[in-house]
Symmetry: C2
Subunit: 139 residues, 2 copies
DNA sequence: CATACTGTAACCATTGTAGTCACATATTTC
DNA sequence: GAAATATGTGACTACAATGGTTACAGTATG
């Protein structure tokens, strides 16, 4: 893995929990499906646990499960939990003495806000349950 | 600068060219406003030149200018020129023997495509001229 | 020819992410 | 209670992307 695939991996892992909603899944199980290291999964799911999306139990027969029904977990919840910040980033330095540079800051903020206002509703509308529905029948 | 601010810097630089549309701007001029190194600007504008968005001339009195009117340069054109790939990225590895993992690929692709279908029209609709219009009157 | 530009290679520093090992802690099972 | 099985997390390595910088070849102007 090279690029930032945290969101994709999170959705994959959570879909797995949603499909097997009656058994706990271990980080090893999930890592097996995602083809990565269990520690990577534990770190990612730790963030999702802090966001109230999953629950974990230690010890034998332990593992992870969803903390709420799949139709109450939106992609936006997941995104917020695992990715920080916005889709676009401004350059933080600029020449404060340049009038254009100073105005660009607000203009770019406006552009980014407009784009985000298109994306967020789509992410909020889609839930884990929708994705699981697309899978067809669970294994 | 830490994060990926190429798109923001590109918009900043191009706005500058749009505002001063009768004089060529040098990479040094632009770097002065953006507060970065001229080479960084030249590298970025070289990509925009390949995309047909700016033109450059070498030598004394040389520099950069827009290759077409500001109302014919959309933010989408700029984005395509300076950022590669999509907004979201999938994890490329997965357990090919796991039925869920295999289906996740298509499901994620669908999700990402839906989000993109919300973003692209917004980027295509907005032009450099729109941004320059927001600046108020040029210096 | 001197000057003033772009284009680009080369290199360094920084940062973010993934991957890995190790281990403290918690829970179940026997 | 001891053994087995989990999570949570610190520490470390490897790697890729980005930005910043220096240097220089090529090119246009006057």
């Amino acid at each position: 893995m090279a690029a930032n695939s945290r969101f994709a991996v999170a959705v994959h892992a959570l879909s797995m929990l949603a499909v097997h909603k009656d058994e706990r899944q271990t980080s090893r199980d999930i890592a097996g499906s995602v083809a990565t290291n269990p520690v990577v999964i534990r770190r990612l799911l730790a963030q999702l646990a802090r966001a109230g999306i999953v629950e974990s139990t230690h010890g034998a027969k332990g593992g992870f499960r969803l903390a709420k029904p799949a139709d109450r977990v939106s992609l936006h919840d997941i995104y917020k939990a695992v990715e920080e910040g916005a889709f676009f980033v401004q350059h933080e330095k600029r020449n404060e003495k340049c009038p254009l540079a100073c105005r660009m800051q607000k203009i770019l903020a406006g552009v980014f806000a407009r784009v985000e206002s298109k994306v967020l509703p789509e992410l909020k509308r889609t839930t884990l349950a929708d994705l699981v529905g697309e899978i067809g029948l669970p294994a």
